[in-house]
């Protein structure tokens, strides 16, 4: 289960069909496409007039950077929380 299945076995399970995302190169393409879109959105702050209520909202790229940083922090903190909070699956059933 933990080992990623080889392409041949995946294709076998698909009934001989190849899906576009079965190829890891295409997964990377999706990732880089996301990077490009994010870059464009970051720069978009320069080309329109922001109408905001709070002062820090008008900082260049605030929403993008905030979104990235807090999400990153969220996952890393949650990962650490696992060390304290995680138990076996049948913990309450024993």
């Amino acid at each position: 289960m933990t080992e990623p299945p080889s392409h041949d076995s995946v294709q076998e399970k698909n009934g001989g069909k190849r899906f576009w995302l079965d190829d890891m190169r295409n997964v990377y393409k999706v990732f880089w496409a996301l990077v490009v879109v994010c870059g464009a959105l970051f720069l978009a702050d320069a080309v329109y007039e922001k109408h905001v209520i709070l002062s820090f909202e008008s900082w260049f790229g605030f929403y993008g950077l905030f979104g990235f940083l807090v999400s990153f922090a969220l996952v890393l903190i949650a990962r650490e929380l696992r060390k304290i909070l995680m138990r076996d699956e049948d913990y309450y059933d024993r």
Partner: protein, 564 residues
């Protein structure tokens, strides 16, 4: 004539017939009831009816205004979706209790006084428990019992609060309550339990994921949103709710990241979404209240959609554990698509329902200068995209290929999900009809360049963080596990403490008896020796006693004689 019939009672009375119908006829009948209900609501005029006097108070069985109508409509819509989704299910208990549950929730939102509210509140609670038990598993039974105890606590608090309020004010009308008196606090706690306030929340994550594939879809819509309605009615502008709300948006998302059961992840994100509504109610301006209740409306539909998509996965594969799933998009493309629509809606992507509702709450927070709450809500918005928007579809349908090749979901499930998806997009693209239903006039434009661009920045950069963490291997893998939450306190800690106390008490008793037994024995035998049948005091007791009295009397007489 139809308009004078209490809206919720329609389903409760209608449910009586369900056990006697069979097969498709039963499904057609159960589906017809909420549709009839929607038709009835369109005929209702604002006002009250069913006013009667009981327990010495004037009670209003039905109060129709914009707030109750909004919740009435969306509850009926949710019921319709749920019944369609459960069309294939042949289970009298579940189909009957589901109708009673929905009917009670609708009855409660139309209740004009607190006694009527309490009665419907309790019927909804008991029906919800039966809906959980309808899964007929050991786990669902136990979770249902835990849930029942907590629900009863909510009921007792509500009843006590209502009784105190009736004494204080001489009225049981359900209008603004506020926190000016102790009764207000009790009623707030009763609502807070059902609204899953922090530390009162765990019944939600405990019980909902244990219900059946179809039961959870019903459960997700009503109990908590009934509480949101009650808070909006009774506690608008109560500032402490802002802080309770932002806490609710923030802490569940950490759990959602590490939880493995995807329906439990959805329960955590449900809790997080309730936080947005509670914060909006706490801010209390017309914009914020509009935002809170419209968000409840949109939320009921997209949350049901997400639970339906995970329900379909559970139905087809027998599991909703992230660690066991992956790659299902290959054979369940429609379910995948509908799940993504739900995910985009809860994440508030432009053109989806969450965008046009949640933004009102955030704007209201900024306008009223609530700086820290605003930032926490923003963090929670990024977080909800992270765990509901990405994690749910990613681990179920994409991620590593689990090798599972289930069939696509049954047609009735696809229809229900398709209808819910349509509504999510329709509200997002064209929010005006929803805005027209809101309690206050809407002077708000969701689609401004600033708003669309900033929201896309927030969400896509959050997505970029997910992708980066995935690629670098930093993202915590889905693991078979139990994550400890507050329910640890009553499922483990309290039993442990009770056991420890019993243990210590028993040992103390043993020590006491064994250490003091010899001396106690000595004391007992001494007493027996002195006072027993052969003891000194037992010897010729009556004669010696009368003799000593006579001697004493004689002495007194002699003393008196010589003293003269």
């Amino acid at each position: 004539m139809t308009a004078e019939f209490p809206p919720g009672l329609l389903l409760i009375v209608g449910a009586v017939l369900v056990p006697f119908l069979k097969g498709n006829l039963r499904s057609v009948y159960t589906l017809a009831l909420p549709l009839l209900g929607i038709w009835q609501l369109t005929a209702l005029e604002p006002g009250t009816f069913g006013v009667l006097s009981a327990f010495g108070f004037e009670q209003t069985h039905v109060r129709v205004d914009k707030l109750s109508l909004l919740f009435g409509y969306v509850f009926y819509i949710a019921a319709t979706l749920g019944i369609l989704f459960a069309w294939h299910r042949d289970d009298r208990v579940e189909q009957t209790t589901a109708l009673v549950y929905v009917g009670a929730a609708i009855g409660a939102v139309f209740a004009g006084d607190l006694i009527t509210l309490f009665l419907y509140w309790e019927v909804a609670a008991i029906a919800a428990i039966f809906l959980i038990w309808a899964a007929r598993t050991e786990r669902s039974f136990r979770a249902g019992v835990r849930c029942l105890i907590i629900y009863m606590l909510s009921g007792i608090l509500l009843l006590t609060g209502v009784a105190m309020r009736a004494l204080e004010t001489g009225s049981v009308a359900f209008d603004h309550i506020g926190l000016d008196s102790p009764s207000g606090l009790l009623i707030l706690l009763a609502f807070g339990i059902k609204c899953a306030f922090p530390f009162l929340h765990n019944w939600l994550q405990d019980a909902y994921p244990e219900a059946s594939v179809t039961g959870t879809v019903f459960l997700s819509a009503f109990t908590t949103k009934l509480a949101v309605y009650a808070l909006a009615r009774g506690y608008a502008g109560t500032e402490v709710l802002i802080w309770i709300g932002v806490a609710m948006t923030a802490f569940p998302i950490f759990y959602a990241v590490i939880e493995n059961d995807l329906r439990r992840v959805l329960a955590y994100s449900l809790n997080n979404q309730l936080g947005f509504m509670v914060a909006g109610i706490g801010i209390g301006t017309t914009l914020a209240i509009n935002g809170a209740v419209s968000h409840a409306f949109a939320h009921i539909i997209y949350k049901a959609l997400l639970f339906m998509s995970m329900g379909a996965v559970l139905y087809r594969t027998g599991t909703v554990k992230g660690s066991e799933l992956g790659g299902l998009y290959k054979t369940m493309p429609w379910t995948t698509g509908f799940c993504i629509v739900g995910a985009a809606s809860i994440s508030a992507f432009p053109l989806f329902s969450g965008f046009v509702t949640k933004s009102m709450i955030l704007t209201a927070a900024a306008k009223e200068g609530y700086l820290v709450p605003f930032l926490i809500l923003l963090f929670a918005s990024a977080g909800v995209f992270h765990h509901s928007g990405i994690k749910i579809p990613f681990f179920a349908f994409f991620a590593h290929d689990s090798g599972k090749r289930p069939k696509e979901a049954p047609v009735n499930m696809l229809l229900a999900m398709g209808l819910a998806s349509f509504l999510c997009i329709a509200i997002g693209v064209y929010p005006q009809p929803l805005y027209a239903l809101l309690p206050f006039p809407v002077e708000y434009t969701p689609y401004t360049t600033t708003h669309v661009v900033t929201m896309l920045q927030l969400l896509l950069f959050s997505g970029l963080a997910f992708a980066t963490l995935q690629r670098s291997g930093l993202y915590p893998p889905e693991l078979r596990s139990t994550v400890l939450d507050f329910d640890f306190s009553y499922r483990r800690l309290a039993p442990w403490m009770a056991g420890w106390l019993m243990n210590v008490g028993e040992r103390a008793w043993m020590t006491m008896t064994s250490a003091s037994l010899p001396s106690l024995r000595g004391l007992a035998s001494l007493a027996i020796r002195q006072f027993g049948p052969h003891g000194r005091f037992a010897r010729n007791q009556s004669s010696s006693f009368s003799l000593s009295i006579s001697v004493a009397l004689l002495a007194v007489l002699l003393l008196m004689f010589f003293a003269r």
